[in-house]
């Protein structure tokens, strides 16, 4: 016999309750003077044994009532093992603790009428059919990863109902994270026979096969200690239920909408490149695409898409007013295996100009200063009429309160910042600000390392090693062409720096940890980094290892300096914080300009109201929504701002590849012997339940409890009735 809810075994302690109550009752004596002792003495002489017996019987009956109820709650069951496990993939002897990991990511929507997800559900339900009473099951959904998971349950019908009613979500898949979550969930199970059942659509994107170290760590956890037996909690049995993928998986996906510049400003013509990716053999080679701005169709055109290739279309628009906009690209009359990625949205912010604060260590202005060239590059006329609105302060006058007014701060050849200012810059970057640091002859490497970099903990991208002044000048060579800073360059980017010369620069003292987060934007011809960038929190910090002026190089004298600096500063200031382009499952976070009692309202893509609540973001008061599950444009109306703020929820573009993961790939990252079951019949054959049988007796116990309650009532009533009839007798 075993208990199916052993956690409730503690309830058996209540069995002692009637005895304790009885003993306590006996201790509470009420003394009374009594004349008719004669009858009590006679009664005691004659009825002592009967009274004692009655009392004990009543106590026994009451104890039995509690015992039956307590036992029924722990659900005792008799199990029998019948026959052998020959031919089964998994040898089950005891009770099974099954964790179902359901990959309900966007790619599981693939197929006509979501055939892939329906196949996954069928497999999962057939797996449930191999379980017996007493097995406990818990379900973890990919779409709810990171949220607290539900407790395991023994009611297989509840799980079945849950699966039958399940719908795929729009989240991106992360199979290793799902398995890790399943391993953690196993600890909450009471049964000993551990099984982790991965129910996946088999699309390779979520498997993250390239993340070798993560899979290695996961394999170690799945193998457990050397003495652990397969099917134990230390070494759970892993099963993969993956429906056969319908072939071919034709799909055309809009993978991204990329604006041509980081900062969109009023009056200038902005272009948006809509990228498409084709998978499989599409029915037609051309697709009709619509480009919409705030729900209004701007343009519609036909785009040629070749099989298994990428294509793009560029749409242009000139914004006349600043504010929040949403652009959307949509495929029309297109039928492929995944409809969810046939449209894509992007939230953009059009600014009158980007406020930039230049901080010069010595406070010089004009071309003599450290920032003279940069200032002219960003605002040639000095009127602030372009996309950049420049302000400049000497380092000595920089105070933390200034930062809130600027999207980008440029520090030129400075190192002596007050600790409070360093902290303020750190918080500024974490909360989404952009910082560009240019070095130079006045830069103190040890001071910067100590207070700004702090071994990778500060806002400075990487510790400095020392100044390098090669005998022969160096020119920039390695260019990261995909970086937005080079968006303004043409195809001959390398030629732009042919005549440049860098005389001195700082080398970086990076280690494995700091190098991991560092993105090299531009290198020197000797391979040393010239411009690096590191994301910190929600902001970006870019470092020019040489000077921003002509002290150590002649970069400012090169034509490419202007687009490079404009691109770099625009990139640093392009992040609207909190972000407005969200993934499914993320909430809207909106930090108001000022605290106000006015009420904000939200609207989802279908026009219904969106519940909002008050919360915090980076130390500021913020408005939060619940997690957004549906892709599309969400509106937030702030009475302080004329135009509504638009948030775009778009799924991960990688989910649309629909490339099936092969069994060989799965075997490489997991144990090669891991059973992969693709058909319902396979599940039934390999996981036959016939080897185990179980009979629960909780119903009998409940019936027993009810019977004993009747007996107890009868016994107590009989005594009461007897006493009244005796009194009535005279």
């Amino acid at each position: 016999m075993e208990f199916l809810t052993p956690l409730l075994l503690g309830g058996l302690a209540f069995v002692s309750a009637p005895i304790i109550i009885h003993l306590l009752h006996r201790r509470r004596l009420t003394p009374v003077d009594w004349a008719a002792m004669r009858f009590l003495v006679e009664m005691m002489t004659r009825k002592r044994r009967r009274l004692l017996l009655n009392e004990l019987l009543l106590l026994l009956v009451r104890t039995l009532i509690i015992t039956c109820i307590a036992l029924a709650m722990v659900r005792p069951a008799f199990k029998r093992s019948l026959g052998s496990h020959a031919g089964t993939a998994v040898a089950r002897t005891g009770r099974t603790a099954a964790v179902l990991l359901v990959d309900d990511s966007l790619s599981s929507q693939a197929g006509r009428t979501q055939a892939l997800f329906e196949g996954m559900k069928r497999l999962a339900i057939s797996y449930l059919g191999t379980l017996i009473t007493g097995d406990e099951v818990s379900v973890i959904w990919m779409s709810q990863l990171g949220q607290p998971s539900a407790d395991p349950v023994f009611d297989l019908e509840t799980i079945k109902s849950l699966l039958v009613n399940a719908r795929p979500s729009y989240v991106a898949s992360d199979i290793p994270a799902l398995i890790e979550s399943g391993l953690a969930q196993l600890k909450r199970h009471a049964n000993s026979g551990a099984e982790i059942v991965l129910i996946t659509d088999g699309v390779d994107d979520g498997w993250r096969f390239n993340d070798v170290s993560r899979w290695e760590a996961l394999r170690r956890r799945l193998r457990g200690p050397s003495n652990a037996s397969l099917g134990s909690k230390e070494r759970p049995q892993l099963l993969i239920l993956c429906p056969a993928t319908p072939e071919p998986m034709r799909n055309v996906a809009i993978t991204s909408i990329v604006p041509d510049r980081s900062v969109l400003t009023v009056g200038s013509e902005s272009s948006f490149k809509v990228n498409l990716r084709s998978r499989g053999d599409p029915a037609t080679s051309s697709v009709r695409m619509q480009f919409l701005l705030n729900g209004r169709v701007l343009e519609q055109r036909t785009v040629e898409v070749l099989p298994n290739s990428e294509a793009s279309a560029v749409f242009t628009h000139s914004f006349q007013e600043p504010g929040s906009y949403a652009v959307k690209a949509k495929l029309l009359d297109h039928h492929d295996f995944l409809a969810a990625d046939d449209q894509r949205s992007l939230s953009i912010q059009v600014e009158p100009s980007l406020p930039v604060l230049l901080v010069d260590a010595k406070g010089h202005s004009g071309l003599r200063g450290k920032l003279g060239f940069l200032r002219y590059a960003l605002d040639p006329n000095g009127t602030g009429g372009g996309p950049f609105k420049i302000a400049q302060v000497p380092l000595a006058q920089l105070v933390p309160s200034m930062l809130a007014n600027y999207r980008v701060v440029v520090l030129a050849d400075a190192s002596a910042l007050e600790p409070a200012m360093v902290d303020a810059l750190d918080r500024y970057v974490v909360a989404g600000g952009g910082v560009l640091v240019g070095l130079g002859p006045d830069s103190d490497a040890s001071q910067i390392n100590k207070t700004w970099a702090r071994g990778g903990e500060g806002f400075f991208p990487a510790p400095l090693s020392g100044v390098s002044t090669p005998t022969k000048t160096l020119r920039p060579a390695g260019i990261n062409r995909t970086h937005p800073a080079f968006a303004g360059f043409g195809p001959r980017t390398d030629d732009a720096w042919k005549a440049a010369a860098v005389r001195s620069f700082f080398t970086l003292a990076t280690n494995a940890r700091t190098a991991k987060d560092l993105e090299v934007v531009l290198k020197l011809e000797n391979g040393e980094p010239l411009i690096v960038e590191r994301r910190r929190g929600m902001g970006l910090v870019a470092l020019l290892t040489t000077s921003l002026n002509a002290d150590w190089n002649d970069l400012p004298l090169q034509p490419a300096y202007v687009p490079l600096m404009r691109g770099l500063v625009g990139r640093l200031g392009s992040f609207i914080m909190p972000p407005r382009n969200l993934l499914p499952g993320e909430p809207i976070v909106y930090a108001r300009l000022s605290n106000s009692a006015e009420v904000l309202t939200g609207e989802d893509p279908s026009g219904k109201g969106l519940p909002l609540s008050l919360g915090g973001w980076e130390g500021r008061e913020a408005i939060l929504s619940e997690a957004l599950t549906q892709p599309g444009i969400y509106l937030l109306r702030d009475p302080q701002i004329a135009r509504p703020i638009r948030f775009a929820v778009t799924p991960s573009p990688d989910e649309g590849t629909l490339e099936p993961a092969s069994e060989r790939q799965m075997g490489e990252v997991l144990d090669p012997d891991t059973p992969i079951l693709r058909r319902v019949e396979q599940v039934s054959e390999k996981l036959a339940a016939s080897g185990r049988q179980s009979t629960e007796i909780w119903k009998w116990l409940v019936a027993g409890a009810i019977l004993f309650i009747f007996v107890e009532t009868w016994m107590t009533r009989r005594e009461a009735a007897g006493s009244f009839s005796s009194v009535r007798a005279f």
Partner: protein
């Protein structure tokens, strides 16, 4: 409790309407309302009977003989005084009743009222207080001064020792040489068979007996709840019971005792009057004396 309180004026006033009547004529040399068994000693004609050899010829009704030639002896009734003895149980169990009226208090009031009635109709009344033995015995008297003396003795006595009804009644029977009435006021918490035997002895000694059983209502219903420690009033050992659980058994024991007492009294012609201390004394008296 004072004597005045015990015999409340209101009760006394209402008692005026009642009189104590013996069902059996008692021997008395004083005239009263009770018939004497000594026929021929009085002037009030009762009836005739056949002449038998040895009859006093002075009682032969000559007028009947002359008229019908039959020998008839005249029979006379003589009204005589009743000699009553109030036997008051003063055992410890009679002290029960707090809070509220005790059985002893009720018994005193009842005895006082009965005594008053008898003295008022020129009957003689005496008093015997007892527990395991006769504590005090006052022979019958018919004056109001005697009655007050009785009351004083009655209220001097406090309940205390154990109950020994059978022995006491035997002792009392030996003290009562002449015919009379014994009004036994007790809770009768004694062996019913022994009590009945003693009553029979009293009956044998030409005593009419009336038994007034004084009970507290709680003794009928055992109204306690939960674990209760019963402390006896006559030095019994303390007993601990769950009152709810033993109520049925107690009631049976009590009912059995009452049945035996009642049947025993009935068998020897003794009237048993069960009085509860929460009853109105006048009602009890009315019920007890309404048997003329």
């Amino acid at each position: 409790m004072s004597m005045v309180q015990a015999v409340q004026p209101e009760i006394l006033a209402r008692l005026g309407a009642l009189s104590l009547t013996s069902r059996q004529a008692v021997e008395s040399i004083l005239s009263g309302q009770h018939r004497s068994v000594h026929h021929g000693l009085s002037v009030e004609f009762a009836d005739h009977r056949e002449y038998q050899a040895g009859d006093d010829l002075r009682h032969l009704d000559w007028l009947v003989l002359a008229r019908s030639d039959r020998y008839q002896i005249r029979r006379y009734e003589e009204e005589t005084r009743l000699r009553a003895t109030l036997a008051l149980d003063c055992s410890g169990s009679m002290g029960y009743g707090q809070p509220g009226p005790t059985k002893m208090g009720f018994a005193r009031s009842l005895a006082a009222a009965l005594g008053f009635l008898m003295v008022r109709q020129n009957d003689s009344v005496g008093l015997a207080t007892f527990d395991v033995r006769v504590r005090e015995f006052l022979p019958p008297g018919s004056t109001m001064a005697h009655y007050l003396h009785l009351l004083e003795a009655m209220f001097r006595t406090e309940p205390g020792a154990e109950t020994g009804l059978a022995a006491v009644l035997e002792e009392l029977a030996s003290r009562l040489s002449r015919r009379g009435l014994v009004l036994l006021i007790t809770d009768a918490f004694d062996d019913p068979e022994a009590l009945i035997n003693s009553i029979k002895l009293l009956r044998y000694r030409k005593q009419e007996v009336r038994l007034f059983q004084i009970l507290d209502p709680r003794e009928l219903s055992l109204p306690f709840s939960g674990m209760t420690e019963f402390i006896g009033l006559e030095n019994e050992p303390r007993l601990r019971f769950d009152a709810d659980r033993i109520r049925k058994h107690y009631s049976r024991e009590f009912g059995d005792h009452q049945s035996r007492l009642q049947s025993g009294c009935h068998a020897c012609g003794v009237r048993l009057e069960v009085c509860q201390t929460d009853e109105d004394l006048f009602t009890v008296l009315g019920r007890a004396l309404d048997s003329r």
